[in-house]
């Protein structure tokens, strides 16, 4: 309605050069800064888990069954040992299991998103650039897959992959199967965005020129088209990471993900749920809070990134 110009405050050239928008908007968004800090702390403590964790919960030698069910910050009745977040039924330090669990959760999440991203970008570039039947098949598959919730697709893929894996390798392979399942359930978004951008870019003069001077299609796609789609891909990747972390936790919680020998946060919550009724709340609560903090902050960061990089995406 307002048919008069909104005044805009001019920025100095130095300012524009310095903040190139992204860092500037980042510093002006308290939510983004807090989320980034939380993510940073969690990621670093996951990476350096072996250094930070008081015990290695997966080294049987360091465990003492007598320490089982020690409440947080209270000395154990038998051994007198005290644990920051208490211990579980086997006397494992909950704090340590969370650090190691977060490693698995983050590894699966990042690897799955990376896999989905590579797959989606490749298929998107190919279908956009080549067109024809290739495009029809790829994009129809994407449409059909999109009809189903990705968590269901991931479960199915997990089930199939598990069926194909010989029984004796199943536990060992579970993490990789999980990455495959979540990754395969999540490539569609990437492919759609990349295909759309490719369709736009491929008819621009510089691409035509590159084709004329004899660049191969592969080189054109990688060198000329790909850089143009990086910012929407980055946004989708961040939001996908939050979804992948939640998906991994959900699958592991349901018992169709990370095995008890390599527990992720979801597995820990699955284990902790069993002790809810008997009053050992800490075995459940701390992994749950960690998962929530991780998922929420990555989500908020993704939301902010979407608004900052590309207000029109979505």
């Amino acid at each position: 309605m307002s048919d008069f110009p909104i005044p805009v405050k001019p920025k100095s050239r130095l300012r524009i050069a310095l903040d190139s928008d992204l860092f500037y908007t980042f510093r002006r968004s308290p939510v983004a800064m807090v989320s980034a800090a939380v993510v940073l702390v969690l990621v670093l403590s996951a990476i350096f888990a072996p250094l930070i964790a008081p015990t290695n919960p997966f080294n049987p030698a360091s465990l003492n069954l007598m320490n089982g069910f020690t409440p947080p910050m209270t000395p154990n009745a038998f051994t007198g040992e005290s644990f920051f977040m208490g211990t579980d039924d086997q006397g494992r330090d909950v704090f340590s299991t969370i650090l190691y669990g977060m490693r698995i959760s983050l590894f699966v999440g990042v690897a799955a998103v990376f896999f989905a991203m590579v797959l989606g970008i490749t298929l998107g570039l190919i279908s956009g650039y080549v067109g024809g039947w290739t495009e029809t098949i790829i994009m129809r598959t994407a449409d059909v897959q999109l009809t189903f919730p990705s968590i269901l697709v991931a479960m199915l893929i997990f089930g199939i992959a598990k069926g194909v894996t010989p029984v004796e390798y199943r536990d060992q392979m579970a993490i990789w199967v999980l990455i495959l399942a979540i990754g395969l359930s999540d490539w569609v978004q990437f492919a759609r965005v990349v295909r759309g951008a490719t369709l736009v870019e491929k008819n621009k003069e510089y691409v035509q020129a590159a084709r004329l001077i004899g660049r191969t299609p592969g080189a054109i796609m990688l060198r000329h088209i790909l850089p143009n789609v990086l910012s929407p891909v980055l946004v989708i990747a961040t939001i996908s990471l939050a979804l992948a972390i939640i998906a991994e936790a959900t699958l592991s919680f349901l018992g169709v993900g990370a095995p008890p020998t390599q527990p992720s946060l979801g597995t820990l919550i699955r284990i902790g749920q069993g002790f809810l009724f008997s009053g050992e709340w800490w075995i459940l609560l701390f992994p749950a809070i960690t998962l929530l903090a991780l998922a929420l902050s990555v989500n908020l960061l993704g939301d902010w990134l979407r608004d900052a990089l590309n207000p029109r995406l979505r």
Binding site: M1, S2, D3, F4, P5, I6, P7, K9
Partner: protein, 324 residues
Amino acid sequence: MADPVLSIRDLSVEIPTRHGIVRPVDGVSYDIQAGEILGIVGESGAGKSMAGNAVIGLLNPPAHISKGEIWLNGQRIDHLKGDAMRRLRGKEIGMVFQDPLTSLNPLLRIGDQLIETMLTHLPISRTEAEKRAVAALEEVGIPGAAARVNSYPHEFSGGMRQRVVIALALCAEPSLVIADEPTTALDVSVQAQIIALLRRLCRDRGTAVMLITHDMGVIAEATDRVAVMYAGRLAELGPVRDVLTHPQHPYTHGLMASTPLASQGKSRLHQIPGAMPRLDAVPDGCAFNPRCPHATDKCRQAPVPRVSNGQAACWYPLVDEKVI
């Protein structure tokens, strides 16, 4: 003279922004008599629409009336809130928007939109409203009105839709109609028909009309009096013949000289140097002074006199200067 239907006294509208308060309408006063068509003319951003929105109580927050009074049929309405103001809208004040393609709800039959409006304001039965809906469509010149009441908006052309919009604005027989650029979005061939229709309907019913436009052709063709706005202020107000042929304000003069209609025969159109100031940077004194060929120090310092009918807001009004 009888009491005016609409009387605006020293009206100001303010919008607080991050960079201070801007005043898209600044101390504007005018009256409209029953059966009279007052044209409001000016460039985009001059505050024409904002004044109309203020009258009908549809300013988008944070825009608000900061000063002045609005009187409708002897009742003061600028301070009315909520339901009291709503009862006036449609009933006492009708409004016609610019784009007929977007003004009608695409999911409702036009008959239902008419009936709904009438039942909201008039003490009549549904059957009576249905009858009147057909009559209203006939009156605005929709062929086969009895059948077309059941049509959806997308089944009409742009010009026909604007006729429907006018029928909707007039169906509860308001005493004032605000038409905000009613022909801007239409084909040139249809514009004249719509203006003629609006004119005829309002003459017949004695409705007062505030016709907001930037089109001097529409002003010349349809209005009785004209108010020229510049940077939120009234530059000149007077009978349309006088303003068009003997503008007193240098801005009006420039406007006339730059309009193809008024400067027929001249090989080149006149241009006013510069541009209208942004609303957060209106100069002291007369808002037009940086662009005015006659400006003096007085114009740059002292606030210009407010205008009443037949006057220009200018220290040195042009006398008998013909445009052509």
